[in-house]
C-alpha cells in the first residue's frame, strides 16, 4: 500500500521544506516526551527531598500518636510487609504454574485462548472491583473478616496476570534445543520443565514476581475493605487480624485527619516510594545481570 502510495504521488515537495517539516516534527515529539517525563522526575524528586527530611530512625520504629498527628509509622510498614509476603505466598506458586501450563503444556486451541482472554481481563479489572470481590468472597462468605489473609488473597489474584505474563515470556525465551536434548536423554516432560527450563528462566520469573509485588505494595483500593485499619495500637498478631498499611495510611493522613503535619505526610509518602522504587531497582538489576550472564 505504502509503496503504491509513494509511486502514485511523486515527490514534488521541495527538499528544504521536507527537512523543515521533519525538524519541527522531531522537535514537537521531543517536547511531548519532555512533558511526559518531567513530572515523573519532579514527583520522585519532590517526595524524596521533602520526605527524607522527615524520616528519622524513630519515625520508622514507633507507633503513631496524637490521632496519627505525631510519632512514627511502624505498624504501617510492618503491615505492608505482611501483605506483601502473604500476596507472594499465594500468587507465586499459582502464577508460575499457570505460566508453565501456557508455555509448556497448553495445546493451541479454543480453551487456551479463553485462558489468555481471562488473563487479559484479570489485568484490566479495576482495583476497587477486586476490593468488592474480596469483601464478598473472603471477608464475608468465607468469614475471614477484615484481615491480612483476606487482603493478601485478594491482592494475589490481582497480581496473578503480571506474574503469569512475565513468567510465560521468560519460559518461551528458553531455546527449544534445551528441551529437545532433555527429552532425547530420556527426561519426561515434567522433568524437562523442572530441571532444565525453569532454572534457565529463573531470573525472568523473579523479575515478574517482583513487579507483581510492586503493584501489590502500593495498592490501596483493594485493601480498603478487605484488610486495612486506620489505627491499631499493636502489631497484627495473626493472619486473621486487620492491619495498617503504608498506602492506606497515606490516604488517611492526607484526606481524613485535619491539622495533619505535612512532614509526616511526606515522610510516609517517601517510605512508600522507597519501597516501590526499591522493588523496581531489584527487578532491573536482576534483569540486566541475567542478560549479561546468559549463554544463549
Amino acid at each position: 500500500m505504502t509503496t503504491a502510495d509513494l509511486a502514485r504521488r511523486p515527490n514534488v515537495i521541495p527538499t528544504r521544506r521536507r527537512r523543515w517539516v521533519q525538524r519541527t516534527g522531531f522537535l514537537m515529539l521531543t517536547a511531548a516526551t519532555v512533558l511526559t517525563v518531567a513530572p515523573i522526575i519532579l514527583i520522585v524528586g519532590l517526595i524524596l527531598v521533602r520526605g527524607l527530611r522527615a524520616i528519622t530512625p524513630e519515625f520508622l520504629i514507633t507507633f503513631p500518636t496524637d490521632g496519627l498527628r505525631a510519632g512514627g509509622i511502624l505498624p504501617a510498614i510492618v503491615g505492608t510487609l505482611w501483605l506483601a509476603i502473604g500476596t507472594a505466598v499465594a500468587s507465586v506458586p499459582i502464577g508460575i504454574a499457570a505460566a508453565i501450563y501456557l508455555a509448556e503444556y497448553a495445546p493451541d486451541n479454543r480453551w487456551t485462548r479463553s485462558i489468555r482472554v481471562a488473563i487479559i481481563n484479570l489485568a484490566g479489572i479495576p482495583s476497587v472491583v477486586y476490593g468488592l470481590f474480596g469483601l464478598g468472597l473472603f471477608v464475608l462468605f468465607l468469614r475471614l473478616g477484615t484481615s491480612i489473609l483476606a487482603g493478601s488473597l485478594t491482592l494475589a489474584i490481582m497480581t496473578l496476570p503480571v506474574i503469569i505474563s512475565t513468567t510465560e515470556e521468560s519460559l518461551r525465551a528458553v531455546p527449544n534445543s534445551f528441551r529437545v536434548v532433555s527429552i532425547s536423554l530420556g527426561g519426561t516432560h515434567w522433568q524437562t520443565v523442572r530441571r532444565i527450563v525453569l532454572p534457565q528462566a529463573l531470573s525472568g520469573i523473579m523479575t515478574g514476581v517482583i513487579l507483581g509485588l510492586e503493584r501489590a505494595v502500593g495498592e490501596t483500593a483493594v485493601i480498603l475493605f478487605t484488610a486495612a485499619a486506620v489505627y491499631l495500637p499493636t502489631l497484627p498478631a495473626s493472619p486473621l487480624a486487620p492491619t495498617m498499611a503504608l498506602p492506606y495510611h497515606l490516604f488517611v493522613i492526607s484526606t481524613q485527619v485535619p491539622g495533619m503535619p505535612i512532614g509526616i505526610q511526606y515522610g510516609t509518602a517517601a517510605v512508600l516510594l522507597i519501597f516501590v522504587l526499591g522493588l523496581n531497582l531489584i527487578a532491573t538489576v536482576i534483569r540486566s545481570r541475567a542478560r549479561a550472564r546468559r549463554q544463549w
Binding site: M1, T2, D5, L6, R19, Q22, M28, L29, A32, T33, T36, V37, I40, I43, L46, I47, I94, A97, A98, I100, Y101, Y105, A106, R113, I115, V117, A118, I119, I120, A123, G124, I125, P126, S127, V128, G131, L132, F133, L137, L140, I157, L160, T188, H189, W190, Q191, R194, G218, T220, A221, F225, P247, Y248, F251, S254, A269, L272, V276, L277, L279
Partner: protein
C-alpha cells in the same frame, strides 16, 4: 517397578496441578463476576429501574441514581484521554523511532517508574500541590475538580499507552523502514506513512488499555475530584467537583451496613465497572488475536 510408578505418579500429579493453575484465570474471572452478581443483583429488584437511571445519587435519602456517577467517570476519563493519548503516542514514537540509543535506554525505565507509582502517591501530591495551585491560578471555587482528576489520570494512563505502543512500533520489521527510506521518504514521512500505520492495531490496543486504566483508577480520582455526585452538564463541569463510580464505591463501602440497599447498589456499580472493563479488554484481546492469526496466515 515401584520406582517407575512413583515417577509416573509425580509426572501425573505435576501435570494435573499445572493444568489446574492454568485454568485458574478463567475460574477467577467467573468467580469475580458471580460474586458481583450475587451481591449486586438484589439492587436491581430493590431499587426501581427508573430510580437507578435517575439523576440523583443521594443514598441517605434513598436516591440511587447511578447516572451522575457514570457521567462523572466518563467526563474525567475523557479529559484524561485528551491528555494521555497524544502525549503517550508522541512519547512512544519518540522512544521507538527518533531517540538516540542513550535516551531510549533512560526513558524506558523512567516510564516504568511512572507505571509503578502507587496511585495514592499521585493523589497525595494532587491534593497537597496540584489542587491548591489550580485553585489559585484558574480562580476556581475549589481545586478539587474533574479537571484535576483528569490531569492525574492522564499521567496514570500514559505509561500503559507508551509501553504498549512502543512495543508494537518496535515490532515493525526494519525492512519496512528501509524500503521507505530507499524510496526517498524522509524519516518523518516514514514514521507517519509506514511505521505507525503498520503498527496501528498495537497503537489501537495501547489507547484502549490506557483508557481502561483511567476508567478503573480509584484512589487518585477519589482524592482530587471533590466527590460531588452532580450530573455533569457540558464542558463547564470539567472545572467543578464530580464523583466517579470507582470513588463512590471506595468512599461509601466502608460505611454501609452489609446487606442494605446501599450495599447492594454499590456492588451494582461494581458490575457496571466490571462490564466496561470487560468490554474494553475483550476488544483489545480480539485485536491481539486478529493480528496473531493474520501473522500466522502470512508466515505459513
Amino acid at each position: 517397578m515401584r520406582n517407575w510408578s512413583r515417577a509416573a505418579f509425580v509426572e501425573f500429579t505435576a501435570t494435573q496441578l499445572i493444568r489446574a493453575a492454568g485454568y485458574s484465570a478463567i475460574v477467577f474471572v467467573v468467580a469475580i463476576f458471580l460474586f458481583l452478581i450475587i451481591q449486586g443483583g438484589p439492587a436491581v429488584i430493590q431499587v426501581p429501574t427508573a430510580d437507578l437511571l435517575g439523576p440523583r445519587w443521594y443514598p441517605v435519602e434513598g436516591y440511587y441514581g447511578i447516572v451522575p456517577l457514570l457521567f462523572g467517570t466518563l467526563l474525567v476519563t475523557l479529559g484524561a484521554a485528551v491528555i494521555a493519548v497524544p502525549l503517550g503516542l508522541a512519547t512512544a514514537v519518540f522512544i521507538a523511532e527518533v531517540a538516540p540509543r542513550w535516551a531510549r535506554e533512560s526513558l524506558k525505565p523512567l516510564v516504568e517508574v511512572l507505571a509503578g507509582l502507587p496511585s495514592v502517591l499521585l493523589g497525595f501530591l494532587g491534593i497537597t500541590l496540584l489542587a491548591p495551585a489550580l485553585y489559585q491560578r484558574l480562580g476556581l471555587s475549589t481545586g478539587l475538580t474533574a479537571f484535576t482528576g483528569s490531569l492525574l489520570l492522564g499521567w496514570i494512563a500514559i505509561p500503559t499507552i507508551v509501553s504498549v505502543a512502543e512495543d508494537s512500533l518496535a515490532a515493525v520489521p526494519r525492512t519496512y523502514r528501509e524500503a521507505a527510506l530507499a524510496l526517498g521518504a524522509t524519516r518523518w514521512q516514514t514514521i507517519w506513512r509506514v511505521t505507525v500505520p503498520a503498527a496501528r492495531s498495537g497503537v489501537l490496543i495501547a489507547i484502549m488499555l490506557g483508557i481502561g486504566r483511567a476508567l478503573g483508577e480509584t484512589m487518585a480520582v477519589m482524592m482530587v475530584t471533590g466527590n460531588a455526585a452532580v450530573l455533569p452538564t457540558g464542558l463547564g463541569s470539567l472545572f467543578r467537583p464530580v464523583r466517579t463510580m470507582t470513588a463512590t464505591i471506595a468512599a461509601e463501602m466502608g460505611e454501609v451496613a452489609n446487606g442494605s440497599v446501599h450495599y447492594h447498589t454499590l456492588f451494582l456499580i461494581g458490575i457496571v465497572l466490571f462490564l466496561i472493563s470487560l468490554a474494553v479488554n475483550l476488544a483489545a484481546a480480539s485485536v491481539v488475536f486478529r493480528i496473531r492469526s493474520r501473522a500466522e496466515r502470512v508466515l505459513s
